[in-house]
């Protein structure tokens, strides 16, 4: 067989091949898996086999520990819609968010209370992730960043946003970088005029990074009812987003987005230079648009539900074709699907109650399957009969969501399910007895 087959047909074909290659790689969309992940993550094509669910332990429920739960997600494989495996961490850490390394071999998961980071091998046996590393000195190494929130894979490294700091437990915080093998690299503190942090997203096309802002540990670990009754504490929520030069990690611009802008989602299509976020306290959908001069503007686009109530928008998911934006609201347990084909004029095209409370949403790359989970924070989740803890899977046909399966995380003695990520058998499958890396 000829080597270098992609380039072995003469210089003219090579030139054409390179041009075609460059065109095909023009959009970062082709590199992402479920639609909201880092553009640097390799794509799992087709059907996901597993949904990994990072789950917060509940005292007296099962072993009471935080855990990584693996659900079967492929109807053609055993264990569909069931718990396939679970791996517990020691203790409860306020399990929240996490993500894969850029090679999809490891899943990093963070605790907002203890700031512990747990690293799972998801490549060796995708149906049975294994805890392989624990990073317990995040606060010390970072110089005081607390509450690792968003884990964002970059080439060779992990970018982690903080929510708080060790000095006063307030919202001033930073971003922390680690190499993929767990070596601390640096801390980037948020700028003085926009000290709070939450999510981070990157657009390689624009060399721009966006961050948003939430609140500090004194607030997010406090029971929600107490917090909402404390007017002074309620003032300590973020109102800004920062636009960064991504390559240099330098803040360029601060945008005013009142009411705690949370999750950020860049549009995926080529030359779609905008992102969405939702402001939790004001229940508004915002667009962040690049202007012709290269700066950005934040535009208040639409209400989410009835802001007078307020429903507390939480997670977002944008479809791969930039057409549908799924927006969850925690208090009313509802998902609202916006048609964002015209990003400046979003229109709700579908609304559906998923449960008594609702937080995370993840969709497959082809947009046909959508998964929801229930838990927000241990001290903010509802009580009594409204404390439903679930992962629910639906099909989406562009008009309505139809149930596929549901897992009751309380009945299964698991805990409070939070972030979800997909896995696939065979992604890192080796030939028997051989690996170039071994």
């Amino acid at each position: 067989m000829k080597r270098w087959g992609f380039a072995f047909r003469g210089s003219r074909r090579l030139a054409f091949g390179i041009a075609a290659l460059c065109l095909s790689l023009g959009g970062s969309a082709a590199r992402a898996d479920e639609t909201c992940l880092s553009p640097y993550l390799p794509k799992i094509t087709g059907q996901e086999d597993y949904v990994y669910v990072y789950t917060l332990g509940v005292p007296g429920l099962g072993d009471g520990n935080d855990k990584l739960v693996t659900l079967g997600a492929n109807p053609n494989r055993p264990g569909y819609g069931k718990v396939v495996s679970q791996a517990s961490m020691p203790g409860r850490h306020e399990a929240h968010h996490g993500d894969f390394t850029d090679d999809r071999r490891y899943l990093w998961l963070g605790g907002l209370d203890t700031s512990e980071i747990f690293v799972f091998d998801v490549a060796t046996a995708p149906g049975k992730p294994k805890l392989v590393k624990r990073i317990s000195d995040f606060v010390k190494k970072s110089g005081g960043v607390v509450g690792p929130h968003t884990f964002y894979p970059l080439p060779g490294r992990m970018l982690i946003t903080g929510l708080s700091n060790a000095k006063d437990g307030g919202g001033r915080t930073g971003m922390v970088e680690y190499s993929n093998d767990g070596k601390f690299l640096r801390t980037i503190w948020m700028p003085k005029e926009a000290e709070y942090g939450y999510d981070v997203r990157v657009s390689p096309d624009l060399n721009r990074m966006l961050t948003s802002s939430f609140t500090g540990k004194k607030n997010y670990m406090r029971p929600l009812g107490d917090l909402m009754g404390d007017a002074d504490a309620m003032k300590k929520f973020g109102n800004t987003m920062v636009v960064w030069d991504f390559h240099a990690r330098k803040p360029l611009q601060t945008l005013q987005v009142p009411g705690a802008p949370l999750e950020i989602r860049f549009a995926l299509g080529p030359r779609h230079y905008y992102a969405f976020t939702s402001a939790a306290l004001t229940a508004r959908l915002w667009g962040i648009f690049r202007k012709d001069d290269g700066t950005f503007e934040a535009v208040d686009l639409a209400p989410i539900g009835d802001p007078a109530k307020p429903p507390l928008p939480v997670d977002l998911s944008l479809s791969a074709d930039d057409k549908y934006l799924f927006v969850d609201t925690f208090v009313d347990g509802t998902v609202r699907v916006f048609d964002v084909s015209d990003p400046r004029k979003p229109v709700v095209v579908h609304e559906q109650k998923i449960g008594a409370q609702l937080n995370m949403v993840s969709q497959s790359w082809d947009g046909k399957r959508v998964y929801f989970s229930s838990s927000l924070l241990a001290n903010w989740d509802k009580g009594g009969a409204d404390n439903e803890q679930f992962v629910k899977a639906y099909s989406w046909d562009g008009k309505a969501l139809a149930p596929l399966f549901a897992v009751d995380f309380t009945a299964e003695k698991l805990g409070r399910p939070h972030i979800m990520r997909f896995g696939q058998e065979g992604f890192w499958a080796r030939a028997s007895g051989s690996s170039a890396a071994e």
């Binding site: 067989m1 080597r3 270098w4 087959g5 992609f6 380039a7 072995f8 210089s11 090579l14 091949g17 390179i18 290659l21 460059c22 095909s24 790689l25 023009g26 970062s28 082709a30 590199r31 553009p39 640097y40 390799p42 850029d102 090679d103 071999r105 970059l154 080439p155 060779g156 490294r157 970088e177 190499s179 993929n180 093998d181 070596k183 690299l185 640096r186 390689p204 096309d205 624009l206 060399n207 721009r208 030069d245 390559h247 240099a248 990690r249 330098k250 030359r271 230079y273 290269g294 992604f427 890192w428 499958a429 080796r430 030939a431 028997s432 051989s434 690996s435 170039a436 890396a437 071994e438």
Partner: protein
């Protein structure tokens, strides 16, 4: 990458030296085999130089994999050739991670196709045993699949003269102007 519909740049790269590139890892100097079959020092850097290293293999047909890396390296090669002063401070190296099938003769074919205009070498470890520690140090993942292909995430590395990896790039998401700025940041003109 980094250009709009009218091919105008979407941003200006940050000025070289205006930002930091902390070391991610340290690698060891070693000998690899070049396209003539000779053992040569890798990365073979003099003081004040950097190496841009891409791991590739000859049977890769993933458009986002080795073809993307090679296309990027070729672009970089031409840009360096157009700037001789900078070209003296940078070496390009493509390393095959398939020593079983990518022989020096095959590397010579690739070299002929790429037609380097700057300091650009094509190397391969002499054996599988020499390959594993190299990949481990760089953090380049590779797995042999049942069909004989090698599953990997294409990455390109910037290595300084102290053998520290200073940046890692995804070739399908990369503007060459940023790599040039990194070269000037890590190995500034004297």
């Amino acid at each position: 990458m980094g250009r709009g519909a009218d091919d105008a740049p979407l941003y200006e790269p940050p000025a070289a030296g205006s930002y930091a590139l902390p070391a991610l890892a340290r690698v060891h100097a070693r000998e690899l085999v070049d396209s003539t079959g000779a053992r040569v020092r890798f990365p073979g850097l003099a003081k004040g130089q950097v190496a841009v290293v891409a791991f590739v293999y000859g049977s890769c047909h993933d458009a986002a994999g080795c073809p993307a890396s090679l296309a990027f390296m070729r672009d970089l090669d031409r840009r360096l050739a157009a700037d001789p002063a900078r070209a003296k401070r940078a070496r390009l190296v493509c390393v095959s991670f398939d020593p079983a099938r990518d022989t020096p003769a095959h590397l010579a074919e690739l070299r002929g196709l790429m037609a380097p205009q700057s300091d650009w070498s094509f190397l391969v470890p002499a054996s599988q045993a020499e390959l594993a520690p190299l990949l481990r140090e760089f953090g380049q993942d590779v797995a042999a699949l049942a069909d004989g292909s090698l599953r990997h995430v294409a990455k390109i590395y910037l290595v300084d003269a102290a053998l520290q990896v200073r940046n890692v790039y995804a070739p399908g998401q990369l503007d060459p102007r940023l790599v040039l700025a990194d070269i000037d940041t890590v190995a500034p003109p004297r």
